[in-house]
Structure formats: structure tokens, C-alpha cells
Symmetry: C2
Subunit: 205 residues, 2 copies
């Protein structure tokens, strides 16, 4: 059986949502980041990167969100969570997911989660970079009504993670980022998303 | 015809190598980062992210290295640049590429290319993070003799980019990272890689 290793509200929420949307048969194991469980010998034997998410499959463990998300979509074709039969449109979706992984996550993560917290010029510089990435999504990359257009895909659950982080930190609001806030609300109204949030002990925001 | 937008020695060297290894019919257009050409209206119309690489195809423009590399491999199956017929092994290769994009590139890039340069504790902290990512490749993720094992894949050209950056900055040496240095040398001895380096005006290191 599939097993997802996750931490509440971390970027592992994206594959958690995807597994629920796919109707997959899976277990979910919580990793306690405050206790540094992700650096324990037991967990490092599963994922030597010492991070969530990791998805245990019958072939081995997969890591990196774009890869896990694509794999869930491709192995559950009935759920229609990615463009099928069009390798270019599939690549566009994976480009969106990889932008979240490689540009949005590192920059917004550094702004919000650096310890000690960033201050002064360093904080302003990090905020400028992070806001630029979010602005690019709002104005250019987001097709609407869903990230990739007419249909919900695994990219929507992934985008929702960063919309939650950004909204909770006051970086985006209905006035400045109306498309992302609307997307966040519609995503969090989906039954599968609510199931994933509930399992993680989270509320829609 | 395919058209690659690149800057010499940037991470666009990875798809440049892949296109040469694939025997692809392509054009290469140099973008002058020192003149901020990547932020020009003409280039932003091609890639609104204002970055290289971008690959223009007959279906549209693709961005993000893992996606471009996967697309080159899949559309040139005769070149055998990715695991074929095994979606799990393909996902493992894309996980390696996504780790380079999402963890190695942002961290080594911040260490080497921040302007103004990082100093003091901030520099040490950035170096510790970057070195941890390189160490993970050397000790865990790199299968050998090529990144994914017995066969050269598009992941090898991508890894070579960061091996070049790290070796030039003195972060890795034959003593401390022997597998990566050996890999760098064998990669840079390949005729297709030498063609890409030459077009970019670079030498093997």
C-alpha cells in the first residue's frame, strides 16, 4: 500500500491532497518536525534528504513534489488529475509544479521560516524576491479558474500550500492577489481537500 | 525547429548538453545576462520568468530544467537519455533532477552569486546548507558510474553544471568529493558535451 510521510501544513499537503483527490488507497504517517523526527536514523533510512514528503510505493520511495504529484496522477488515470494523452500539456503542468518547487518554495520558505528570522535589508530583499514569484503566478502563470485552466489538476493542491502560507503571513490578500485568494477558497471547499486538511489537523483559511 | 535560449555556463548548459547528446536539430540563442537581456520586453514575451533556459518548440515554450530535460529525452527516444518503459525509474531520474533544481541550484546559487556577496555568519550558514546538498549527492543519490547508474542520462549533463560551479568555487575537490570530480571529468570528455561547451565559449575544467 502507498504510504505518505507528511508534516501538518508542510508542502507534503500537496501529495496528501492529490492522494485524496485520486481516491488512492494509502496510509499517512505524521513526521514531527519540531522533534526533528525527519533527521532520525529511522526516517533517514526512508528518505536520506531528511525532509517531507516521501511516498513509499511497492517499487521504492519517491521524493520531490513535482515527481510525486505526477506519479500519483499517472497511476490513477481515472481521477483525471493531469493532462492525459498530450505530453506537451503535461509538461506545462510539470513546469508549473517545478516553478513552485524551485522558485516559490525556497524563497517564500526563507522569508517565513529562517531561524533566526531575517531582519532589516535581508528581510526586505527576501520579501521582494518572494513577492515577485507570487506576482508572476497571479498575473502570468495561473490560467484560471484552475491553475492549468478548466480542470483541477495536482498543481492546484500544490499551489494551495503556498497560498495558505502566503495568506497566513499577510503576503497576499483579496485586494492584491484576487485570483489566488479565490483559488485558495475554491480549493479548500473541495471534499478531498477538506479530508486531507482534517487528517493533518488543519482548518481551511 | 527547436530553439534554446541560454547564457554561457548558466544552468541552461544542461539542456544544451541534452540537445547535443540527443542529436537534435536545434538553434541556440545566447542571452546576455550582464546586459539584463533576460528582463527585456522581447525576452519576457518568450519567458515571463525572465530567466534561462527556455526551449521554444512547435507547441510553445517550455521552462524549468527537469521538464525541458525530460521532454528532450522523451522526444528523442533513439538517443536513450532516460529510462524508457519503466515509469518508476523515470520518476527516480526526475526526482534527482528536481533535487538539483529545487535544493542544489537555489542554495549554491545564493552562496556563489548573491549581490552584494554574503559575508560572515550569513555566508557560513549558506555554505553549510550548500555543502550538505552536495554531500548528499556524493554519498547517497549518485549511483555511479553515471548519476542514475550504468547509463548516461540527461541528469548527468545537469549535474555537471553544478559540479563545474562547485569546483570553480573550490567547494569540491578530488580529495573531498572524488565521485563528483570523476563524474565531471568523464562528462566533459564526451563529444556532445564538448560541442555544447564550445558553443557557449567555455572550456572543460
Amino acid at each position: 500500500m502507498l504510504k505518505l510521510f507528511y508534516a501538518p501544513g508542510a508542502c507534503s499537503l500537496a501529495p496528501h491532497i492529490a492522494l485524496e483527490e485520486a481516491g488512492a488507497n494509502f496510509e499517512a504517517e505524521r513526521i514531527d518536525l519540531r522533534a526533528a523526527q525527519q533527521k532520525s536514523p529511522e526516517y533517514l533510512a526512508i528518505n536520506p534528504k531528511g525532509a517531507v514528503p516521501a511516498l513509499q510505493t511497492d517499487r521504492g520511495v519517491l521524493t520531490e513534489n513535482p515527481v510525486i504529484l505526477g506519479w500519483i496522477a499517472q497511476t490513477h488515470p481515472g481521477a483525471d488529475l493531469a493532462p492525459a494523452g498530450d505530453s506537451f500539456e503535461y509538461a506545462v503542468m510539470q513546469s508549473f509544479n517545478t516553478f513552485l518547487a524551485a522558485s516559490v518554495h525556497p524563497n517564500i520558505g526563507r522569508l517565513l521560516f529562517s531561524r533566526p528570522p531575517l531582519e532589516g535589508d535581508a528581510r526586505q530583499a527576501a520579501q521582494d524576491v518572494a513577492m515577485g514569484k507570487l506576482r508572476l503566478i497571479e498575473d502570468k502563470l495561473f490560467r484560471g479558474p484552475w491553475a492549468m485552466g478548466e480542470r483541477f489538476t495536482v498543481a492546484d493542491g500544490y499551489l494551495c500550500v503556498f497560498e495558505r502560507w502566503a495568506a497566513q503571513a499577510g503576503l497576499i490578500s483579496d485586494g492584491s492577489f484576487p485570483r489566488m485568494i479565490d483559488h485558495l477558497q475554491r480549493t479548500q471547499a473541495r471534499p478531498a481537500v477538506l479530508r486531507a486538511l482534517e487528517r493533518e489537523g488543519l482548518e481551511p483559511i
